[in-house]
Amino acid sequence: MLAFAARHLPSPRRWLVRNLLISGLMATTAIPAAGIAAATDNDTVTLYNGQHEQAVGLLVADFEKRTGITVRVHSGEAPEIANQLAEEGRSSPADVYFTENSPELALLEEKGLLAPVAAATLAEVPAQYNSPKGDWVGVLARESVLAYNTAQVAVGALPASLLDLAKPAWQGKVGIAPSDGDFLPLVSAVAALKGQDVALAWLRGLEKNAQTFDDDEGVVAAVNRGAVATGVVNNYYWARLRQQNGPAGMHSAVYHFMHGDVGGLVNISGAAALAAAPHPEAAQRFLAYLVSEPAQALLATTDIIFEYPLRPGVAASPLLKPLDQLQPPAIGISELGDDANAAPLLRQAGLL
């Protein structure tokens, strides 16, 4: 019956039309004006964010309180934002880019879109976690792991290598999220360490074996409820699920690939200032804040994000295996590259 509204013509109700039109017109003209009003001083900073939105929300609120600088946040999936910055080029309104994985920063660095990070900021973090060129600073580290359902897989049956998951024995027993920003660096790492052909064969095997999800949250939740036996995720997704469900609600555990297997890749979440930033000073202040003691402590203790803080002396969440006990593959930031090959490989394998 609702659908017939327009056919009926009761007594005139012009006020409604008039009110709607007038308020609408006012809104049409007012909104864009407000958007343009952002001044080009250093009281604001525009953050393009590929990290988890809720965690960044905490950081931004704290930063605003400490400095009085207003942060405008544009959030999205990390590779999307990186490609957006590349498309926008020098006309981008962005001051700072904060992302989950280093290859996205490498891409922008290659294109010459990043400004050098202040030396004092770089010095807060061990040098191996920063850009070799000094164009971006490492903020957090995350480990790639295999989450497994404890009722479905015995510890002894877990694979020694990530590449084993492409073998027929694992058909239907693997969950992956190929369009999640965190999967691309893993593909890049396999390609860099084992070669393109091995990487493609591995992905083709996964295409046969794996159930695909949109994001790591979906993978780890599926593993925990037993919909799939194992899942390739970053460590903190499991930690977050444990935080939500409590120990009693966990039917899964985390398996760390050891002995330098590519599956145990440790990725750097970093940040950079844009070369064409409209607010360069505020941008550098935000970078300095990200590696400062209070920000790193905030990130280490919040229940929202479970990543390793890179500033020495700030302890990671006890839910995580200590960073120095991991045995990640021997691959440097420059060898990992910019993920340029990852998406084409995924498409070739039919995963994207």
């Binding site: 609702l2 509204a5 327009a6 056919r7 498309e87």
Partner: protein
């Protein structure tokens, strides 16, 4: 007096995007003069039509940047086949279940002595006012088991069966009881009368409704993304997430647009052919209602289940999560009063701005279509019709790709988002504006003019009072559509802008259901209130009955 012709019933409120739509309909045009349309009007309408076609042009040109070999490799890969299968399987299953549920509900409400008919009739239409991604938020937060095809089918059926219920109910009300009486006198039993007389007459309404469901399923994004069911729209979004507005996304978008246009074409062809008319001159009557007898309880139970599933679960789950502490979410994101108010305000502002611009842009085309004829007018109408075949995600991607380099001042501006809404909901507004303008007949204006009123006075004193309520209803419908829009807002919202829809999205996609609940509740409230107000003011059941009862119309 026509009986079976779809009476433009599927004018939607809320989530789905498509409305019943006829191009250059062969209806008798009231005093459609042979005068050519005034040039300014024609120019305005043509500009709007071109604006509407802009996303199609941009998408095609972006897709063309991929060289042929690469395009072949991209299009003819297993994934595209799987997406095609996923999408079409859901389209087929969803239209069928919606048709069965919608027809059954309509028949029991209209043709039986069902207790509480009026209440069921109202409740059956309400799901249209609940955005489908809120429905899927509810189901997926109830249990992750609803992910995948079964969940997607359930959500599609819940969200869109009113698109079948409404036209079928209208067709049943308009059906001449004499036909069934004749069949009965010729020895047909009740089931035979239904299958051989009633059902064939419902065919136009059924078919039109099913195509609307199919189109809505094709362009739906949020609901399927939350249910982790991969269709073309979710895959275009995945491409966007890994590569921004690249040519790969444009290629997939072209395939999706072709699917949409194919369904639009099927619909318009079908509408052109099926027509049932009552030719007798006698007074029409309202059909007798069948007693339900022993079936009364099971049927009532069926309606209770229907309402619980389509309304109870979505609204109930929102209420449930509202009472949960934020810590029940994986990410206990802060939900402060300030964030709630600012998101609500920006939803309302964009709703108002979107509705205004859409009305302003749609008006010239609607006026032209109602008052004038000719090949140019037909071409403009056809262009506006084609805009329906462009899903929101494609419109948004095209506008991003266009403004990131050229037209840069518009990039990331709120004006661009409002323009996107106007393009997206142009067809929706056109349907209603045309209907209300048809009521304001040319003759009335002529009378006014002959009595010495000027152009402005005629508009103010005759056209607006007659067409005004219908126009307001059209604006309100676009308003609700904008407030509940997810895809376009997600891609085009200016930096720092969050609407209720994007808040629900951010929290639900990270499984933070408790954090999403207040935003979902506010959005559902706005949508239900606006829709309820609209129905109350402009479409009472009695009025409806009068209008559709044979013989009651002029």
């Amino acid at each position: 007096m026509t009986i079976g012709v779809p009476v433009g019933p599927a004018r939607r409120l809320g989530a789905p995007r498509f409305a019943a739509w006829r191009v250059a309909s062969r209806r008798r045009r009231t005093a459609a003069g042979s005068r050519p349309p005034p040039f300014p009007l024609l120019a305005a309408a043509a500009i709007v039509a071109l604006l509407g076609l802009l996303p199609i042009g941009v998408t095609l040109s972006r897709a063309m940047q991929v060289d042929v070999a690469a395009a072949g490799a991209l299009l003819f890969r297993p994934l595209v086949g799987r997406l095609l299968f996923n999408t079409l399987a859901l389209v087929a299953a969803g239209t069928l279940t919606a048709a069965v549920v919608g027809t059954a509900a309509a028949w029991f409400v209209e043709r039986t002595r069902l207790p509480g008919r009026r209440i069921w009739a109202s409740l059956a239409a309400v799901p249209l006012a609940i955005p489908s991604f809120v429905t899927s938020f509810a189901w997926v937060s109830l249990s992750p088991a609803f992910q995948g095809f079964p969940g997607a089918l359930l959500v599609v059926t819940c969200a869109y069966y009113p698109l079948l219920y409404l036209p079928v109910a209208a067709a049943l009300r308009g059906l001449d009881p004499a036909l069934e009486e004749t069949a009965r006198s010729l020895g047909c039993g009740p089931w035979q009368r239904f299958t051989r007389v009633v059902l064939p007459h419902l065919r136009p309404a059924l078919f039109g409704g099913m195509v609307l469901v199919a189109l809505n399923v094709l362009v739906e994004f949020g609901a399927f993304a939350l249910l982790r069911y991969r269709t073309f729209t979710t895959e275009i979004y995945a491409e966007y997430r890994t590569g921004f507005a690249g040519p790969q996304a444009a290629l997939l978008a072209v395939v999706l647009m072709m699917l949409c246009v194919a369904f639009l074409a099927i619909e318009s062809v079908a509408r052109g052919h099926v027509r049932y008319a009552r030719v007798a001159r006698g007074t029409g009557r309202v059909a007798t209602r069948y007693p339900l007898g022993r079936a009364r309880l099971p049927v009532l139970l069926g309606f209770v289940v229907l309402v619980v599933v389509t309304l109870g679960v979505p609204l109930g789950m929102i209420l449930f999560w509202l009472t949960q502490p934020g810590a029940a979410a994986i990410t206990p994101a802060e939900v402060s009063a300030g964030i709630l108010i600012s998101s609500t305000l920006s939803s309302l502002e964009y709703g108002a701005a979107g509705a205004s611009l859409t009305m302003i842009l749609a008006f010239p085309i609607a006026f032209l279509a109602v008052r004038y004829d000719g090949p140019v007018v037909a071409a403009i109408e056809r262009a506006a019709w084609l805009v329906q075949g462009v899903p929101g995600i494609v419109v948004a991607l095209a506008l991003v790709a266009l403004t990131v380099h050229t037209l840069h001042p518009l990039y990331q501006s709120s004006l661009l988002l409002v323009i996107a809404y106007a393009i997206l909901f142009l067809p929706l507004a056109l349907v209603s504006i045309k209907a209300s303008l048809q009521q304001a007949e040319r003759r009335l204006e002529d009378v006014g003019r002959s009595l010495g009123l000027g152009w402005a006075a005629v508009t103010r004193r005759i056209v607006l009072p007659v067409a005004g309520p219908g126009l307001a209803a059209a604006a309100a419908m676009v308003f609700v559509a904008v407030v509940t829009d997810l895809t376009t807002t997600l891609l085009l919202a200016p930096i720092g802008t969050h609407t209720l829809a994007t808040r629900v999205w951010v929290d639900t996609s990270t499984l933070a259901f408790a954090a999403a609940a207040p935003f979902a509740a506010l959005m559902a409230t706005i949508s239900l209130l606006s829709t309820g107000l609209l129905a109350h003011r402009f479409g009472g059941t009695n009025r409806l009955r009068n209008d559709l009862t044979p013989g009651a119309r002029r």
